[in-house]
Amino acid sequence: MTESPLELTPLFHVGPVAITSPVITTWGIMAAMLAFCLLTTRNLQLRPGKVQALLELVVGAIDHQAEEVIRRDPAPFRAVVGTIFLFILLANWSALLPGVEPPTARLETDAALALIVLAASGYFGVRLRGTRGYLKSFAQPTWAMIPLNIVEQITRTFSLVVRLFGNIMSGVFVIGIVLSLAGLFVPIPLMALELLSGTVQAYIFAILACVFIATAVSGDDAPAETSSKHGSTS
């Protein structure tokens, strides 16, 4: 019987914990990002170099998008939204490396991302509106909507998981099938297309995370904040 390509095969075990390839790839991405951050941010200057200017451009773009969607000072949300965007982007692009399967092509990674978005929306909702205010948002517009709002929280989390998983996994499968049928260099256009698709998916996931957070923190009982771009640390 042929094994399902969606099944994960543990590479090794650490005690009872099975270590799979998405975890290993994620560790690699994390190590690369940590090394890059340490190298590039250890000597920041008021007059930025090219790399610093690029980093500031990326961070500024993330702040701008988060502020546009959430309509608040983006500093508190920068870490979550930025990390989600950068991780998904690099994870999707990791497919370019030979023998590497992007972690986002696995359901567990996407589910972990969606869980973090769900937890972040709850965290920021409670932090900015208070527990009572956040829970009251489930009773909008009427108490009868409480079950539906709870279901909405679950379904939209699932939609995040399924959207990212379906897009990335399908791309990996298509490239794998074409590679097995046509030859070594034929899938290159598809891989380029997958780069674009990975970028778009990272952007969509991050924007949807902002939308969910904005839904959680918006309301009459939420304290107004003055927007101050790049003005405070996360």
């Binding site: 399902s4 969606l6 099944e7 994960l8 009872p16 914990v17 099975a18 270590i19 799979t20 998405p22 975890v23 994620t26 560790w27 994390m30 990002m33 940590l34 951050c37 340490l38 941010t41 920041l44 200057q45 008021l46 930025p48 610093q52 980093l55 500031e56 961070v59 500024g60 500093a75 920068r78 870490a79 979550v80 930025g82 990390t83 989600i84 950068l86 991780f87 972690p103 696995r106 359901l107 567990e108 990674t109 589910a111 972990a112 991302l113 869980l115 973090i116 790049h230 003005g231 405070s232 640390t233 996360s234």
Partner: protein, 247 residues
């Protein structure tokens, strides 16, 4: 479809760790440096604004100082103008006064010289008149130099105040009569009779000759004199001429 829960848990932990890593080593340093740059830019802008305001303030002060200097200059010029005008008026007044004084002095000097000249001319005219009269009277006969004056002398004596008349021939002393020439006995007697008649008492007469009288008789008293001679008349004429000349 199977979900590996260990992988899900590990990926969740991995992502949370990644959130911390990026927050600590990427987003926070970048945000810090951007904030520092913004603060530096704000500081520069504030300094520039402060310098601009200071420059404007200094410009205003300079303008005020310039206006004050112009005003002071105007005041100084105005004061100097007034002072010069006053000094000019003073100088003109002094000059005018000096000119007036000088003119008055000159006019006074001219007047004085004119009067002196007139007096001199008067004196010369008087002297000339006296000289002419003297020459004319020398041609008169000797009898005319005495006879015509006896009666006049007696009338003059009669007009004297009482005390002056009492002094004439008092205590029996002879009355000294000055004559232009030596008088004859008849003339002396005539003179004595005339004087006795004028005084109302008998007096004696002694005669002293004084040719300077030209013609006529005179009596010298201790406190008065009775003159009835050409010499006295010419003196009065010369005095009158001199007085007219001075006037």
């Amino acid at each position: 479809m199977h979900i590996d829960w260990w992988t899900l848990a590990l990926q969740t932990i991995n992502l949370l760790v990644l959130v911390w890593i990026l927050s600590r080593f990427l987003f926070r340093p970048i945000a810090d440096i951007v904030r520092q740059r913004q603060a530096a830019a704000d500081e520069l802008l504030e300094k520039a604004e402060a310098q601009r305001q200071q420059a404007e303030e200094e410009e205003k002060q300079a303008e005020a100082a310039q206006k004050a200097a112009e005003k002071a200059r105007g005041n100084v010029l105005q004061d100097a103008g007034r002072e010069a005008e006053s000094e000019k008026a003073q100088i003109l007044a002094d000059a005018r006064k000096q000119a007036d004084d000088l003119r008055a002095a000159v006019e006074a000097e001219i007047e004085r010289r004119r009067k002196a000249e007139q007096a001199k001319i008067g004196e010369q005219a008087g002297a000339l008149a006296v000289e002419i009269a003297t020459k004319l009277f020398t041609r008169l006969p000797d009898s005319a130099k005495i006879d015509g004056f006896v009666q006049g002398l007696a009338e003059a004596v009669a007009k004297l105040p009482g005390q002056a008349r009492d002094e004439i021939g008092a205590d029996g002393a002879a009355v000294t009569v000055l004559a232009a020439r030596k008088m004859s006995d008849a003339e002396v007697a005539s003179c004595r009779d005339a004087l006795s008649g004028a005084l109302g008492r008998e007096v004696s007469v002694s005669v002293k000759v004084d040719p300077a009288l030209i013609a006529g008789l005179e009596i010298e008293l201790p406190h008065a004199a009775v003159r009835n001679s050409f010499h006295a008349d010419l003196d009065r004429i010369a005095t009158e001429l001199a007085g007219h000349a001075e006037a």
